[in-house]
Amino acid sequence: MARTLHQHRRPLLRPAVGGPPARLGGLQKERPTAIIIAARRLNRAAGIIAISVLFDSAMEHYRGNFHNKAMWTPIVTSLSSIAVSAHGLADGRHRAHPVRDAVYVAAGFVGLVGTGFHIYNVTKKVGGFNWQNLFYSAPLGAPAAMSLSGLMGFLAERVRDNHPEGEPRVFGLPAGRVVAAATGLSLLGTTAEAGFLHFRGAFHNPAMLLPVSMPPVAAGLLAKAAIGRAGASRTPSKAWLAATAVMGVAGVALHAYGVSRGMGGWRNWRQNAFAGPPLPAPPAFTGLTLAGLAALALLREYAHD
């Protein structure tokens, strides 16, 4: 790692991909740099996770009757995150945007506060920190998704905030490695949440094993990429991350099947969509794996031997 850092103090010998057109007038359209591509991917990841958070928190907080006004907060922050993420997707500048930054930081913060609320919700129930309350009171891992969305967006801005012709860095470290590490950890956290709820469901269907098996492998591959050899082949990791992204989408369909397995099926949606497996939750995996693919792209782009 130290050797690689040292290497990166020398200017790149290859020109950055894309960049302003050379010697042709101002008529040619700007092609995005690898940095912008990565940053936008991270904005996209943040947006996808925020969409998941929006619908998931809306449904779950509706089930909780919005009994505490604070339960509206994730609706607001996820909507804002979606908005600024869309903005980031259209933005080609190599500069962090203060409003986007603020929204993402706020989202991250709200996720932490939400976790605090959920912990309080669990501990104040009779029996406190027991299985019953962990299973059926406010889910401890859910607000973290808001923080993860904020984190991805925050990383988007940090990645973007780099000179187009240098290797991008986040807090002085190679951006690819930082994003890989952050995404890997995030995947493990999301796995824990999904795994816990699937455990509550007694893994009654073998497909419920998917989110506790595929994402951890993806996280492992990302960890390896984060700390491993710069020039290592990324193709298997890319494939696995892509498959995990598909898993996140398939999860929605599988959850829809799960809803139909409730008494009365979809006709009884007013019960089964809320009591059954949450439709909006699985795409969080998709968002994170897209961020992971962005990390792999950065690592490939700026790899040295």
């Binding site: 009757n65 009994h67 008494m263 009365g264 006709r267 009884n268 007013r270």
Partner: protein, 216 residues
């Protein structure tokens, strides 16, 4: 005087075509609501006595659409829909009712100038029923029937469920009513599902009424 309505505007029948009711439940409740109001088990005299008795056990004073408990009781006895077992000193359900109604009427006449039970004032009817409940009634007029056992094991077992098994009573007490295939999502008491009854806070019956009319 029955207190002001706790769940004004709430009607379980409004959920009849929602997932809270299924076909078999609709059929069963429809049949109950269409119970004929002419006797098939009771003689005319028994019907009058039973009617008066039911009105005291579950009074519905001045209410619009009171449930005809005697009609439901007659239907139940006609079909012999009871739990089947009897106390050793009592006849089975159908015979017990016939014998007891006759005895109640004889007792009423003996006490009050040959007026049958249905002709007594409400206070006098209540007094007679109370006396039965507290074991103060026996004697020749009650041959073969233990009045106290009849009150406790037949009257109180057979009559109140006729009322509390009727949608009117479910509305009155805010019971969720039929629930299949749709059961409940929110299991807490203070957080009802949108298809449950809203309880009126005292003085704010109008608000609850409006909300309950939207319950479906």
């Amino acid at each position: 005087m029955i207190e002001p309505p706790r769940y004004p505007g709430y009607d379980v029948l409004a959920k009849r075509n929602t997932p809270s009711w299924d076909a078999v439940t609709r059929r069963v409740i429809d049949e109950r609501l269409a119970t004929p109001s002419t006797p098939r088990f009771f003689t005319r005299k028994e019907w009058l006595t039973a009617d008066a008795l039911c009105r005291r056990i579950v009074p519905q004073p001045g209410e619009i659409d009171p449930v005809s408990l005697v009609a439901l009781l007659d239907a139940k006895l006609f079909a012999n829909h009871g739990a089947g077992f009897r106390d050793a000193d009592m006849p089975y359900m159908q015979d017990a009712w016939r014998k007891a109604l006759a005895a109640i009427d004889r007792d009423a006449r003996a006490q009050k100038n040959d007026r049958g039970f249905s002709d007594l004032s409400e206070e006098d009817q209540d007094a007679l029923l109370s006396a039965m409940q507290h074991g103060k009634i026996s004697g020749d007029r009650w041959a073969g029937i233990n009045a106290k056992t009849f009150f406790e094991r037949r009257i109180l077992v057979d009559v109140p469920p006729l009322y509390y098994g009727h949608p009117k009573a479910w509305n009155e007490i805010g019971f969720g009513g039929p629930a299949s295939p749709r059961g409940y999502v929110r299991l807490d008491g203070d957080r009802p599902d949108p298809w449950e009854a809203i309880e009126a806070s005292p003085g704010d019956e109008d608000k609850a009424d409006r909300e309950n009319r939207r319950v479906v």
